[in-house]
Amino acid sequence: MRYITAIFYKQLLDTKKNNAVLIQFFMFPLMAFFMEHMIQIAEMPPHFFAKMFACMFVGMAPLVCMSSVLSEEKERGTLRVLLMSGVKPWQYLISIGSFIFCMCMIGTAVFTLLCMYRGWDALVFVCIMTAGIVLSELVGAVIGICCQNQMAATGVMVPVMLIFSFVPMLSEFNTTVAAYTDFLFSQQIRTLINHIGVTAFPTKSICILAGNFFAALAVFLFVSRKKGLE
């Protein structure tokens, strides 16, 4: 537990001074806040921007932060020092993952307020966001583990992040895109968020999310066993 809290603390100190990572946590909540208050169109569904940016946030922030932090630590050799100090790879991943998760939950809280969810709806929204953040972190961890440096990680991370974060937005305007990208977890996060308050149980979305989760977990376990953290 000492290692986990020490690395969590390290990440907190480092993120405070790392604008590139810090901006990921606040960019979408801030954009959603301003868009929600500045743009009012009569036919627009309620809290359209907050819901759209929440989906984009899930597809981008955890993924980018996880892969950036991992690849930077590998490139600078700091991860190796941690591992040589007795930290186990799983302890490191849990620490960094928990930190990013906590930061993303601040964003989630902002989105919950912007969408004006209360009670059960708020809880469902938080659960949907939690599932999306965990999945996105897994994908980010896979990229971070596979890439030896930040340059390589950026090359892989950008297209992946664009797919996961922009597809839900495009799907809002194009049903064909929505149909073809139904298997993506971020797409299902969008579907689930848009259906908060609907009584029917979203079996299909839950199944796709579970499928995405197990696929991401399998890839994560495979690459972490094959490549390790060094």
Binding site: R2, A6, K10, K17, N18, R76, G77, T78, R80, M84
Partner: protein, 283 residues
């Protein structure tokens, strides 16, 4: 302080073999390190020194043989490639590791170590803004924070200015006096000669010499001659024979000798002889 050789070694390398891509880079490495000594490992670039340190510290399993450490001995490793958190200050970097090591009274301990390595003034400076020498001191401070029994140092003074290198050597000497064992990898012969109790020369994946610097130099003193600088400015080199002794005595009696010394080879000469490297003449 090197304890008697009766004491069990703190570190034993036994017939270590390691190959990369079919090429054997370490071949039957065998030596032992006594508690409280500074043991130097010397070798050319690419001789396998860093690989050996990785095996000794358990980062890399050897193909054959074993590296055994005293189970109660804690280790600290300082390698050149090991980074620091560049955005964080010197103090914050150490604070993280103090938390990681579970250091008791971290504030006092960090202050002491910063004083020891001469970084007290720079404790609020971001690590990215430190010079190379200061970054080396910070890495050393990080190792010392753990107060390990064995310090593994991979070329700690490489590329540093003489003053910083000397400061690091002084710290190492102080740690030795505190009873710490130091495993020093270097290719600076003068450093090994002045600092190490014993050294091992690594060449072609094998230990070709092991002993105290004096022992090694004496073993390879093939010239066995006297060098004389005479008052008229001429230099003489005389072999170690009875005739030479008489001639030297005559010269001394005639007050013609300015300086007289034996021509024992230094460690660098021995190293170059053994490895077949050509020594670069001094400018």
């Amino acid at each position: 302080m090197v304890k008697g050789t009766d004491a069990p070694p703190i570190l034993i390398a036994q017939d270590i073999v390691m190959s990369f891509h079919g090429k054997r880079c370490l071949d039957g490495i065998r030596f032992s390190v006594q508690r409280g000594e500074i043991f130097g490992l010397l070798g050319q670039t690419g001789a396998g020194k860093t690989t050996l340190i990785k095996i000794l510290t358990g980062q890399l399993p050897p193909d054959a043989g074993s590296a055994t450490r005293d189970s109660s001995a804690s280790i600290g490793i300082m390698m050149d490639a090991f980074g620091v958190y560049e955005r964080l200050s010197v103090y914050e970097n150490l604070k993280i590791y103090a938390a990681l090591y579970g250091t008791v009274h971290p504030k006092e301990k960090i202050t002491d170590i910063l004083e020891k390595v001469g970084l007290s003034e720079a404790k609020k400076t971001a690590a990215a803004k430190l010079s190379k020498g200061m970054q080396s001191r910070l890495r050393l401070a990080r190792v010392l924070l753990r107060d390990p029994d064995i310090l593994f140092l991979d070329e700690p003074t490489s590329g540093l200015d003489p003053a910083t290198a000397d400061c690091i050597r002084q710290i190492l000497y102080t740690e030795k006096k505190r009873g710490k064992t130091i495993f020093l990898v270097t290719h600076t012969m003068s450093e090994a000669e002045s600092l190490c109790d014993r050294i091992a020369l690594l060449c072609g994946g094998k230990i070709i010499e092991c002993g105290t610097p004096k022992e090694i130099c004496a073993r390879h003193n093939r010239q066995k001659s006297f060098a004389l600088h005479l008052s008229d400015g001429t230099d003489l080199c005389l072999p170690l024979t009875p005739d030479s002794a008489d001639r030297i005595a005559d010269l001394i009696r005639g007050r013609c000798v300015e300086t007289l010394h034996t021509t024992e080879p230094d460690l660098e000469t021995v190293f170059c002889d053994l490895t077949g490297e050509e020594r670069t003449p001094a400018p």
